[in-house]
Amino acid sequence: MNKLANKTYTYYFLLPAGIVYFVFFLLPTIMSLFFSMTWWTLTDWKFIGFENFVTFLTEPSLNIGFKNTLIYAVVTSGLKVIIGLLLGVFLSSKLKTVGFIRSMVFFPTLLSTIAVGIAFTMMMHPSQGIINIVLSGLGIVGPDWLGDTKIALLSVALVDVWKGIGMATVIFIAGIMSIPEDYYEALMMDGGNAWHKFKSIILPLSRPAMNTVIILSFIGGLRSFDLIWTMTKGGPGFSTDLIASIIYKQYQAGFFGLSTAGNVILFILVSALAFPLYAYLNKKEVDL
């Protein structure tokens, strides 16, 4: 069979995807490794070794950027896993309104980030925004969501969760639905309750789904900046800067070599966190 398999499943099938991927993604990426070591004005370049990396790493706001990037990635992926799992369990039940709720939860995924960012920026206005108006109706004085440097990052992270939770939920629902019915039946035979059902069947068996959500949203969180860019532009000051937004600002300023170096550093950082995480999660999965 092995021989047959080798013939049947030929790598020719990979060729079209491989060519497109190489020409339009890998090749430019490899070129950018080179340009990260140049002083580059698009029309003109000069090889300067690692100077860009030094400049980037001594960027005054970089410390904030590193910290914020990690916080943002952990908070968004953490919340997406927890809320997504709970919603996933809830929405795989047989309630009548499940279809409606699922559509509502998924719909933000379809919207453009710019539109979502603009709407929430308005809703988070300290006095005229609907969120604080509702809170004051409950007797709570709402914070300045995007103006207070201590919470601005978390405010944007919450919007990110709002927009991305549909995707996480759908992945969880898929994971939970693929658990064969007989597992539940067996548990019922043994007199287990809903909590048991959750703990000993759903949680372990939706592991692959959870890993997908963790990996996708963690990588997404590390790389993300479009929402931050629409809502705070990294401000007030530099307080919500992410590594990706620092890179983008340098790119905008026309520091092409420097921003390319920043891209390489971000790539290294994400790889250094994501590959081990991926390997760890995969290993755990096999163990089960």
Partner: protein, 437 residues
């Protein structure tokens, strides 16, 4: 080889031009009689979407009527994102024939000698004011014509509020602060802060340049040559301190971090706020939204610490530049010539009432200009004005607006902000490859 091709095409096109000029009558014929077969030349024009197009479009309409040339506008996003699009398109050889871009440091960042056509020998350039030419020059070559009237950065104020509270236009910074105190006591916003649009946070610092230059006349050159730093030049540091002081005294509206530019204009027009440190292009925006309030708005230059020195910091208007690789350079020049002619200016002003004097010699402003423009003109007539730093030096750090937001909201002190900005500037100067950095 390529060079020869260029020369040939240049010769050809100038021969063509000569032919057109020699036979004006025959040109008439081609445009009216043989319009179907006669080829209309088309030039493209890239403008950012922040610019009010009404005046430009009116000029184009008239130009198209008079010439067998069609001008097509293409818009791009504004701000830093737009600058990047320009850079990318220039670098990849995919630029329109005409380019609308800021003058000063933002022009220098585009490497004008390499990308734009030298206009210094064109007859129509004789009418352009020298100050403006300086802001669109590199190595003695001049590259652009002014696209809008000249702007100024200073303190827009509501004259009605001033009347009600019996205030007079301040001659010194201390007088301004005393005015602010009275306005605050009266329960109004003394200084409108709109830091949600971060660029607005820079105005107090940038509009202080007249005062900086009064103290240190060579600051711009020294700054460019890396001989003077902001944080160690007292007059320059003072600009940051003024911003800090406005915050510390609590003169700004409570929610200045969540308030945007639109809202700021509304506050000023309604008299809810008395002062708005701003650049005068805001007058055009005010005029569209609050036409009936224009009589209440005035402007004064940011005061210095001495009553003797009173001047206005000027913002040179954006320019129109011709792409060096354009295949329609002559048609493009023709358009620029028309644009800066008295006729062009008149058409422009009929659509957008001028928000300042034109940087073109011999062009008169109508008598019914806005009061704020009259305020401005006094500074121009007396000669008490100086360009903002970014029009005198190619050095401008990209993070200034974040840094001024920090200083203006108390996250960092004036001194810290100035130091941070010095570092930011150093990075930019190195990236530009300037000498001495």
């Amino acid at each position: 080889m390529a060079k020869r091709k260029k020369i040939v095409s240049l010769l050809l096109s100038s021969a063509l031009m000569a032919g057109v000029l020699a036979g004006c009558t025959s040109k008439e014929e081609t445009s009216s009689g043989g319009s179907k077969s006669g080829v209309t030349e088309k030039i493209t024009f890239l403008i950012d979407n922040q610019t009010q197009l009404d005046g430009i479009e009116a000029i184009i309409d008239e130009f198209e009527k008079k010439n067998n040339i069609k001008v097509e506008i293409e818009t791009r996003p504004g701000g830093a994102e737009g600058d990047n699009i320009i850079k990318t398109r220039l670098a990849t050889g995919d630029m329109t024939d005409l380019v609308w871009n800021n003058s000063g440091s933002q022009l220098q960042a585009l490497n004008p000698e390499q990308n734009f056509v030298d206009l210094s020998k064109e007859p129509f350039m004789e009418n352009i004011m020298e100050d403006y030419k300086d802001a669109v020059s590199a190595n003695g070559k001049v590259f652009g014509v002014p696209g809008t009237p000249t702007n100024a950065g200073g303190w827009l104020y509501n004259k009605k509020v001033y009347e009600e509270l019996g205030l007079t236009v301040p001659k010194t910074w201390d007088e301004l602060m005393a005015n602010n105190e009275k306005i605050k006591q009266a329960g109004k916003t003394a200084v409108i802060g709109t830091f949600k649009d971060t660029w607005t946070s820079q105005v107090i610092v940038l509009a202080d340049n007249y005062n900086v230059l009064e103290e240190n006349p060579t600051f711009a050159e020294d700054f460019t040559a890396n001989k003077a730093k902001i944080s160690t030049t007292p007059a320059a540091l003072r600009s940051f301190e003024k911003l800090e002081e406005v915050f510390k005294k609590g003169y700004m509206n409570k929610e200045f971090l969540a308030t945007g530019y639109d809202a700021g204009l509304k506050m000023l027009a309604d008299g809810e706020g008395a002062h708005y440190p701003m650049i005068t292009f805001a007058l055009a925006n005010l005029a569209t939204t609050f036409p009936d309030k224009m009589q209440d708005i005035g402007i004064f230059g940011q005061p210095s610490d001495s009553a003797e020195k009173n001047g206005l910091t000027v913002w040179m208007p954006a320019g129109i530049f011709i792409n060096k690789n354009s295949e329609h350079i002559d048609a493009a020049k023709k358009f620029l010539e028309f644009y800066v002619s008295q006729e062009g200016v008149t058409i422009y002003s009929s659509k957008i009432p001028p928000t300042g004097p034109f940087a073109i010699k011999g062009v008169e402003l109508p008598d019914d200009v806005y009061p704020a423009v009259k305020d401005m003109i006094q500074y121009f007539d007396s000669g008490n004005n100086a360009p903002a730093l970014e029009f005198l030096s190619p050095v401008k750090g990209p993070s200034l607006e974040q840094i001024t937001t920090q200083v203006g909201s108390g996250i960092s002190s004036a001194k810290e902000g100035a130091e941070l900005y010095d570092k930011d500037v150093e990075k930019q100067a190195k990236q530009l490859g300037l000498e001495g950095w």
